[in-house]
């Protein structure tokens, strides 16, 4: 049992937590900047990049695919901006035009590639396969101290953990600037902050987190974690620091609870087949958001808790 857990469940659990945290952190700022749907857009537009990289490289390799995804995200950003400016179209609609068209291109490429003999799975891209990221060398808790066994950890784990740390470092380093430019861009500019560059950096960091998580756990978690934990946290408090803390707590809770429910829930009910962990994590985060929307102290449109004045 103990060996099973370390071998089969620990790595996906850790990867899920890392992915959730890496997405929820920038999600807090995107939510307040009304750019919450960027996670949705990114996870759609990277598909053609990943497929094109796969077709060019000929193998399912992470390096080229990440590069392809990054290039696709960049192209999408340029296209959205160009269409918005040239056509004088509102940003939401411009985004909708670009991400659906690029996703369609990706699916078309994918069908063509599977027709030519090699196979790359659409469903893998959509809902990942967290469950398959197992650690064959993990013979027990002791393996965590065993250098030989540690080398056998799934590469996604290290990558996701690295991205999470990088995102956390970015947030910590630019905390004041990010908060300031999110709430009052004009004032931030008078303080000498480059708000444009900062906004772009935020989106770039979000894109990196999304692409890394997309590779490991599929796009559903990405979209859900960008929005649900920060949104639930927003209903709990008026302070930015506390909001981020709440959102991280919600993200970890969703990842753990979702993974456990998907993996063990059916067993408890007497079924054999495990459920989709990615889908369950998204569902749990939605349930948390539901509770926050019903009971959160700062849930009302005005923001302040009812019956008390603003702080």
């Amino acid at each position: 049992m103990e060996q099973d857990f370390v071998m089969l469940s620990l790595p996906p659990l850790v990867i899920g937590i890392c992915a959730a945290v890496a997405c929820a952190l920038p999600g807090n700022f995107l939510l307040l900047r009304r750019q919450a749907l960027i996670g949705d857009a990114i996870s759609h537009v990277v598909l053609p990049g990943i497929v094109a990289a796969f077709l060019l490289a000929g193998v399912v390799a992470t390096g080229p695919m990440m590069l392809g995804a990054a290039v696709a995200a960049l192209i999408a950003a340029v296209l959205i901006e160009a269409i918005r400016r040239l056509g004088r179209i509102e940003p939401g609609a411009a985004m909708g035009v670009v991400f659906t068209a690029m996703f369609a291109g990706g699916v078309l490429l994918l069908e063509q590639s599977s027709a030519s003999g090699v196979h790359l799975d659409v469903q893998h891209a959509l809902y990942g396969n967290l469950e398959s990221l197992i650690w064959l060398d993990g013979w027990g808790w002791g393996a965590l101290l065993d250098g030989q066994a540690l080398r056998g950890l799934p590469p996604e784990l290290l990558r996701m953990a690295g991205v999470m740390l990088a995102v956390a470092a970015f947030t910590a380093l630019f905390w004041r600037a990010l908060v300031l430019s999110t709430f009052d861009e004009g004032f931030a500019r008078t303080q000498g902050l480059h708000t444009g560059a900062l906004g772009f950096a935020l989106v770039a960091v979000a894109a990196v987190a999304a692409v890394a998580a997309f590779d490991a756990v599929g796009s559903i978690i990405v979209i859900a974690m960008f929005i649900c934990p920060p949104a639930a946290a927003r209903l709990m408090t008026n302070r930015m620091g506390r909001q981020v803390a709440w959102s991280l707590g919600f993200a970890v809770l969703s990842a753990v609870l979702g993974y456990v429910l998907a993996g063990y829930g059916p067993l408890w009910l007497g079924y054999q087949n495990a459920l989709s962990a990615a889908g369950m994590i998204a569902t749990v985060s939605g349930i948390i958001l539901g509770f926050a929307a019903l009971l959160g102290p700062c849930r009302h449109p005005g923001g302040a808790p009812r019956g008390r004045g603003a702080e």
Partner: protein, 417 residues
């Protein structure tokens, strides 16, 4: 050898062209024809419906609606199997998807109205959570039917291969029905999209109209699931209206154009996909729509990029010519190369830069015009007219002859040209 290979390639290409032509003229068999016509009907209805969402700046709501259909599709399948029926019966799945998309829509409106969350956050939350729940249920079905593939994955990206005749008919009829409702409800929907405050003042039930608008988008999503798939159906609601908006400033025209663009995308995309096995229908329809959007962005008169570029060029030429003429009138030489080239082409100056007879006459007229404008701008009586001064418009376009004559009394000496 090489010749044989080349011939085969040529033959294959020719075969492809023949197939495409046959597909576009509906000669590729009964089934392909039905699918093509169904997709075209769907496209028309989606384009017309989407226009109201786009004008109300709520295009992305359709994204939440379409993703939240998934749990309903799977639940519908499970219920029908549990009742001992055929799980893939399309109307049953459509009913299920409508119920769950409706639930998603209610949650979305509730989150936006009752909590401090903004609409985009609510859209993202509904979209991801419902979709995640759908995926969970999908794995439940996979476990339930152990080995027997349910084939529900086709609803993610759409598939027309193996579509039944009845299904194509259901889709075409559904599209026609939605289109009819759009035509019936178009006036209140336009009013609410543009000016909700005024609409409310007219005694219109805002929530009811908005609900109808969203309900129609929901209906399109449900009807289009089978053909385009739930990830891409939103493209049919967004892209045609955005493209159509380039062509007109009138709502009625935009609705018709969006219907035309959506319809042609549906028709051409479905026809194209019938010509080869590895060409999925949904993505092709979306890509055709995107191509039509790009054409509109570039070529549309008025709002198009090309038209704007031409307008800019024409303006630039007028400024250069005017400034060149004023310089000539003042006896100053013109050095600016573009100005010189333009004036030479118009026959106003000779190759060596000396003004021609016509050039001198025109320069004098330009100078007179400029002097009159100066007079006019210093006279408070002409304040309204003075606001139209831009250094280019001839005064004759602003004032009547009598007014100009009155103005001329003020500048005697120069006026005697």
């Amino acid at each position: 050898m090489a010749g044989g290979w080349r011939w085969r390639k040529w033959a294959a290409r020719r075969q492809g062209k023949i197939m495409l032509w046959q597909a576009l003229t509906l000669q590729l068999g009964y089934n392909a024809t039905l699918v093509t016509l169904g997709a075209a009907m769907l496209g028309v209805a989606a384009g017309a419906t989407g226009t109201f969402l786009y004008l109300g700046k709520r295009a992305l709501v359709s994204d939440a609606i379409s993703h939240s259909t998934l749990p309903g599709v799977v639940l519908g399948f499970m219920v029908m199997v549990a009742l001992g029926g055929e799980g893939r019966f399309l109307p049953g799945l459509m009913l299920g998807s409508a119920v769950s998309a409706g639930a998603g829509l209610l949650v979305l409106t509730w989150l936006t109205a009752r909590t401090r969350l903004t609409e985009d956050a609510a859209i993202g939350a509904v979209l991801s959570v419902f979709f995640g729940l759908g995926i969970v249920l999908l794995t439940v079905v996979q476990g339930m039917s152990a080995g027997r593939q349910a084939g529900l994955e086709t609803f993610l990206l759409g598939a027309t291969a193996g579509m039944l005749r009845e299904e194509a008919v259901v889709i075409a009829l559904g599209g026609a029905l939605v289109l009819g409702l759009v035509m019936l409800l178009r006036r209140p929907m336009v009013l609410v999209a543009f000016d909700p405050g005024y609409a409310a003042g007219q005694g219109m039930r805002l929530r009811l109209v908005e609900l109808a608008m969203m309900g129609l988008a929901l209906a399109i999503t449900v009807v289009g699931l089978k053909v385009v798939g739930l990830v891409l159906i939103v493209a049919l609601l967004i892209i045609p209206p955005v493209a159509a908006r380039f062509w007109s400033e009138r709502v009625g025209v935009v609705v018709v154009m969006a219907g035309l663009i959506g319809g042609s995308a549906g028709y051409a995309g479905a026809a194209l996909s019938a010509t080869a096995p590895a060409l999925p229908t949904g993505p092709l329809i979306v890509l055709v729509a995107f191509a039509l959007f790009l054409l509109s962005l570039l070529l549309a008169p008025g709002r198009g990029v090309l038209a704007a570029g031409l307008r800019h060029l024409r303006f630039q030429r007028r400024v250069h010519l005017r400034q060149g003429l004023l310089a000539l009138a003042g006896g100053q030489p013109v050095y600016e190369p573009l100005t010189l080239r333009l004036m030479r082409r118009a026959g106003l100056v000779r190759a060596d830069g000396v003004p021609t007879e016509a050039g001198r006459a025109m320069a004098a007229r330009a100078r007179l015009d400029e002097r009159r404008w100066q007079m006019l701008r210093s006279d408070p009586a002409f304040e309204a007219a003075a606001a139209r001064y831009d250094g280019l418009t001839p005064l004759a376009e602003v004032l009547t002859d009598d007014q100009i004559a009155a103005l001329d009394r003020g500048l005697r000496p120069e006026a005697a040209v």
